[in-house]
Symmetry: C2
Subunit: 299 residues, 2 copies
């Protein structure tokens, strides 16, 4: 959602010079997403009709629109077939949507910690975050830097949905018994809010969360099951058992709807963020999925 | 946390004219808590030194201070022994703390969906909510109505920690496939924020969350285990399996530390809020705990 197109920087262990997906063996493309802070058209882009940035007037778009941009990029690059389409979370939502829009384009599809339709629970998390952004008195000013303080609180909230109780037990416990205020866990939330503040903008954050809310591969296609059946790629779906935001039931639903799909579940104390962290486990699973071992049957 | 002292209104099914805890058989006292909106001293109370409400200057207090107020109330009413002390969530934190401060006062102790020390996870949720309140431009005005818009967003966040993914699946799903915006789950968050806005104040909300953060029965007592061992009441601890905010491990830890305590776990799709809703289950469990059946051994 807030990542850029430098996949080596944010998915190391899976993508890198010596990882399963390395540029010696693979031609890797990680496109920016529509509306993001990092490229492709977004709310800070200048509207040619007014000569000013779109900001609040950036049109509402959906995951399907993001996929259209990816489609155009592939056409522009002259890429017809894609060996593997992989994504987690919002990236997985796009990957699934694209596999339904163009079933013949993809040989393999790998979906991690994602869903086929964004849940009421996920929408409620996003709405709470937008409430925080809307509270920021600068949000009404229509300036490029509007809503940034609100986004700090929104990010703090979002982080809780990306992690798990156990993540905080492991890393944010107090070393002593004596404090009654100024807790490490509270400071950590402020710190995470500040980190996003320094690298993102509130308009993109707002619109991306709206696009995520809209995600529903069954819309206009006769429902979820009818949509999932259109996927032709060889599909692997991976869930994370402690994922608070995209619980494993959602990945299981995808796998059970796509013909021949394989479902696997991993354990991670990092919750949803495990999709960025448990790369050793994903590497093994993906390697086996993409390069099935020859079975030696001794005679 | 935001409830008042009318326990018949907020814990029906367990407390009421025909419930397990009814005024025919029991003398029931549900005291307000220090710093609340509904009574006892709080941030809106007039500071006798200035003639104006305390507001931001209300001193930071802890769960131990709340318990001191309960102690003084009991002394004032001439109550020496208490047959049953029961509480859930912040109420359970107070009940446990009081049972450690005055082990001889209580015959039975029932703790539901609570903990012995507030978790880093819980503190992070509270901090995110305070970030939302602090965003409200009125929060700096030092008026009694300050921070109320911020509290709406805070409540929306809090609600997610009180519920569970499954709660939203059950009640907030869209009836159709066609929407791309204006989702029921989003409206629901706004509605819940508004409801609290109409009945509470942001200063109390802020201070109560700070008091909750400070909760740690082991502070100054040689740690958690040493503190729990001081409880003399006959103790029942109940956890809710889908409680996101106070997961069952926390209740199990309490029960394993209190001599002779019984631990039970119930299933609820309402998550933490199950402590207010699953009263039929709690009624059965509590009835058996308080009135053990005579065992008939046939000869």
């Amino acid at each position: 959602m807030t990542a850029n197109s430098d996949v080596f920087s944010w998915w190391p262990g899976l993508f890198g010079p010596d990882d399963l997906f390395n540029p010696r063996e693979h031609f890797i493309i990680c496109p920016n997403i529509l509306g993001s802070h990092y490229g492709t058209s977004g709310p800070l882009t200048v509207n040619p009709k007014t000569g000013k940035p779109y900001l609040h007037d950036f049109p509402q778009y959906t995951v399907r629109d993001m996929v259209q941009v990816h489609h155009h990029l592939a056409q522009h690059l002259g890429i017809e077939k894609i060996w593997l389409l992989i994504g987690g979370s919002l990236g997985g939502q796009q990957a699934l949507e694209w596999s339904i829009q163009e079933p013949d384009r993809f040989e393999h599809l790998a979906l991690i910690a994602t869903n086929a339709r964004h849940s009421p629970w996920g929408i409620a998390f996003n709405e709470s975050q937008r409430m925080a952004i809307a509270l920021d008195p600068s949000w009404a000013t229509h300036k490029p830097e509007a809503g940034m303080q609100g986004m700090r609180a929104a990010r703090s909230m979002a982080l809780l949905s990306y992690r798990h109780y156990d993540t905080y037990q492991d890393s944010q416990q107090e070393p002593t018994d004596e404090k009654t205020d100024g807790f490490r866990a509270a400071t950590y939330q402020q710190y995470q809010g500040k980190k996003l503040f320094q690298r993102f903008n509130a308009y993109s954050y707002w619109h991306l969360s709206k696009a995520m809310d809209s995600h529903h591969v069954g819309r206009g296609r006769g429902g979820l099951q009818a949509a999932l059946q259109q996927v032709k790629a060889n599909t692997l779906v991976v869930g994370i058992n402690r994922d608070v935001l995209f619980p494993p039931d959602e990945q299981y639903l995808i796998a059970s709807g796509i013909p021949g799909a394989v479902y696997l579940e991993i354990d991670s104390r990092f919750g949803h963020d495990g999709f960025l962290i448990e790369t050793a486990a994903f590497g093994k699973i993906l390697n086996r999925f993409l390069h099935p071992a020859t079975v030696n049957v001794e005679s």
